[in-house]
Subunit: 347 residues, 2 copies
């Protein structure tokens, strides 16, 4: 079996762990991991010292050799509950498929039991790499992934990236700025924001971009115009209601996910308010279906499929022991103007 | 390697194919396949004759034995371009994950080259089973799948099921009937239908259900009120325009997919017509996001995730050599009434 033979082909020689190598080299485990994975962000001296120790101890890198290839990548989501997910899957699958590699899709539901089951499955199938599209992994899962020494790429790292792994994201700050600049250019001055979960880096970046656009235009930032959402429809619905119930409601709302934007449109519709005649709405993501919302949504496009493709290319490069271009890549977002935004109503 | 050892563990004994067994037994290849896969729809005499020949020739069933387990199922779509897909993936993944089995997701884009690449990958990874959510596979792909003798389940079989494999679908006819009965009960008499691709069985079943409801209510079926769509948004948009341009436009439209229903709502919005005040719309699928369309969509729920779960359970049973309950299962659809339907406007 491929699984059992990994790392033990040296015969009776005891397995050496990267933890042991790290101790002997006097460097951190992530640093050894970087050397093993061919990453460029290690000093030449450290790399040489670690490489020497790896050689001395007969450490076997995980790599594809004929007969020892799973030809699989694991793509892991917290939940498969969003059209967002299928865009990422599409990108990963396209690159992997061409390379003869299968894309194993899992959801771990933020539950420890489910994550442990996934780790068990991952170990058994000896995947060539892991693409994580999931925000919060428990420390024990990090530890286990490190121990497995499997190449990892994180897509759109949500929290502080605790794993020492390359990440692929989108230019969330620039996207937030573009959304609010668009509304300002139409003449809006009171602009509400339905923000994403504050523990996620992407939410904070979109909020900061929004603020930066306001400040650049000399419009004071009003914290009363910011409400909290969780990226799902329902929170956009309630968040928009909250904004419209305020003493001086906004004439435009930037919802920092498309799903929240659709929820906001529904909240306005129930109040008898028209989009964009009474209130303008901008979303974030550009899910395929928002071209068909009523009205078609002005939004900030995240290149989700392209992010999936880049993540797949990166993890497959690592699996082949090749160097990767950069440990942190952000792909450009782009404002897409449709029919949910207009100049504010006179008066 | 697991792949190479399959079916050759008998040592130097030449491989026997199911085609050879079929010839010798004087039965069809699908019949031998049914016996091999533990299906119940074979006469006891035929089963005994085939089992004897399998034993005589030392035919090795693909089955899980320790050390010879891929612990993978392949889930194959034509395209990963719809929120529809993620619902199916969610169901399959949930069952497979619990069973320690990985779900390998692929898209073959209806292209021969892509299907051949997938077959090559499938062969290499020796999946335990295949779930096809794809309409048209070329005959050569059928042939190759049969040769691989891997358990197959077809979800929502689109055309005439050419593969001899169990299928999982939804009650499309009853769903079509329920949609139109709902509109009739609100008082509509001129009801347009945006049909799905005629080559797909599910489209035809929805159309027939619609017709049956009309006939049961004594409302004559008017072919001028049926337009052709392809299940995607754009065709709903144009189809609805076509219906409204007719001399005597409908007061309600049954779009036989949610995506076409959203396209139809957008066509009406652009004409300045309100849903449901001016025209009622019913969809089909109940994708998660149509709870948040403007207005929230009345639709016929297809239990897509449940269909995925049942498909996964069925293919895993086959992989373990267990009998399956039934070669053809349809899960119930259900009308979900939201805000896109109302009584026709007076006059």
């Amino acid at each position: 079996m491929a699984t059992e033979s990994r790392g033990t082909e040296g015969g009776a020689r005891p397995k050496v762990t990267i933890t042991a190598i790290a101790q002997e080299a006097g460097v951190s485990v992530p640093t050894v991991s970087r050397v093993v994975n061919g990453r460029s962000d290690v000093s030449p001296e450290t790399r040489a010292r670690v490489e020497d120790l790896l050689r001395v101890h007969g450490y076997r890198r995980r790599q594809r050799v004929p007969g020892d290839r799973a030809a699989l990548v694991d793509l892991v989501f917290n939940d498969l509950d969003s059209p967002w997910a299928v865009e990422i899957i599409r990108g990963v699958e396209e690159v992997a498929h061409q390379d003869g590699v299968g894309t194993v899709v899992s959801a771990i539901h933020g539950r420890a039991g489910s994550a442990r089951q996934w780790l068990k499955n991952l170990r058994a199938r000896a995947s060539d790499g892991v693409i994580l599209v999931t925000s919060v992994l428990e420390p024990v899962v990090h530890e286990e992934l490190r121990r497995l020494n499997v190449p990892i790429v994180v897509v759109d790292p949500a929290g502080s990236p605790a794993l020492d792994a390359p990440t692929v994201g989108a230019t969330n700050w620039a996207g937030g700025m573009a959304a609010t600049e668009h509304l300002l250019s139409l003449g809006h001055r009171r602009i509400g924001l339905i923000a994403g979960p504050p523990r996620l880096l992407c939410s904070r970046a979109r909020l900061d971009g929004h603020r930066a656009a306001l400040e650049a235009a000399g419009v004071p930032f009003d914290p009363a115009l910011v409400v909290q959402g969780d990226f799902y429809h329902e929170s956009g619905f309630h968040g928009c209601d909250q904004l419209m119930d305020a003493g001086s409601p906004p004439t435009a709302v930037f919802a920092s996910s498309d799903q929240m934007a659709l929820g906001a449109i529904e909240a306005l519709r129930r109040r008898g308010l028209r989009v964009p005649e009474d209130v303008s709405i901008v979303g974030f993501d550009d899910l395929p279906e928002v071209r068909w919302s009523a009205p078609p949504l002005t939004t900030v496009r995240q290149p989700l499929a392209d992010m999936g493709k880049l993540a797949a290319r990166t993890v497959l490069r690592q699996a082949r022991g090749e160097e990767i271009e950069s440990p942190r890549v952000e792909l450009a977002t782009q404002l897409v103007v449709r029919s949910s935004t207009a100049a504010p109503a006179a008066g």
